[in-house]
Amino acid sequence: MNLLEYIEFRNTSFEYIKDKKVINSISTKVYKDDITAIVGPNGSGKTTLGKLMTGILKPTFGKVYMFNKDIKYMTLGQVGKQVGYLFQNPEKQFFSCTVEEEIGFVLKIKGFDREYIDKKVEYLLELFQLDHLKEAFPLKLSQGEKQRLAIAAILANEPEYLILDEPTKGLDMDRKTTLVNILEKLNEKGIGITLISHDYNLVNQISNRVIEIYRGEIVEDRRNKD
């Protein structure tokens, strides 16, 4: 089976503090067709790897390529048009005063018409079971609701790839199942996904590929199912 390469790490290293490598010379390819899970203990470099994938962080050594283009030369806006990134703390990505507005505000800025935005917002509110909260203030929601809202807001942008950092944090079992179903459907539609997670149930349930990192190095790279 020929897989479509999406993100490539070439001898990528990253240091927050000089000479202290958080990511140590990683070389691997992430495929668009996959649901790739990045797992590892706390401080192993999972979130850093996710941030390198989106260009939030630039590698200290080596390169990161997105569709064969050096991510160093891409602006965050360019990356954001293709990739949806869920922060570990979803509060960081809320910009509006109501749930409804939060999902639709990017579409509004991009100049979509009112009817299209309303339709899209309604669909996502329903999909993520947030319709009863559409007038609520995003920062006052529960952790699980914030998480769902952040994912819904990302999906409004119709990204072709998703990088989700701890997407099940604060979700109950029912909501986890709903999220798994949504992610599987999105993947079937051709949206590639990278999950950064501690939730081994989720990882084993939906990912085709698991990359385990420890102290900034890949210690295991296995395929779960196809």
């Binding site: 989106t54 048009k81 922060f87 960081k92 990505q93 809320f94 920062l139 990204p159």
Partner: protein, 244 residues
Amino acid sequence: MRIEEIRIDPRTKLIIVLCLSTLGIVFKDIISLVKILLTTIFISICFHVDLMGSIKKLKSLLYILIVITLAQSIFSSDGNPLVTIGKVTFLTTEGLYKGLEFIFRMMIIIFSATILTTSSSREIVQGFVQWGLPYEMAFMVAIGIRFLPILTEEIKDSLIAIQLRGIELDKIPIKKRIHVYSYLFTPIVLGTISKAERLSIAIEMRGFRAYDSRTSYMVLKMSILDYIIIFMSIVTTIIFYIVY
């Protein structure tokens, strides 16, 4: 031996900074300002201040300084014209003089303030408390100092998050860009308020009260060297002021 290794009391550093910045504000001629600036740099080096690091951190502020300097130069009409286009004079000798004066003054204030960075914020606040500043106010200062880097981080994160929604800030028209920036206020302001709320609950839960009779684990003690430096700083400042 570097002064830093001898451990100077933060209150001594505060007095040095006060003396240098006062001189920087009081003097108006460039020669004196250059002398004060050189003294400031010398003292900063003695305190082992990372001047280059501080300049890098203040890079964005330097651009504003340069713009203000140019504006001062352009709008001062006194003196001999240096740059004239048609009938309009853009730069005069007086304007250039005022611009340089402003930039030297700001550099004195900024470089002298870097001396304080060699003490931790906790030490500086303790210095204020031992000077008699009410603890409530000192605590507010300490919280303010502690929250500054968090706020900076929050602004950066919000800017990253909004761009990662596929908004190319550098490609959208200025009017729309201002509109996008207005969205940043929500997470920054409300995030700060919610952090302050959480902090107040946490400190109440731990039984914190700003009693007057409060004791402190950290107690600063001035040495003879501190007194000598304070005396010399104040006397030199007065002499410098009287002589020039």
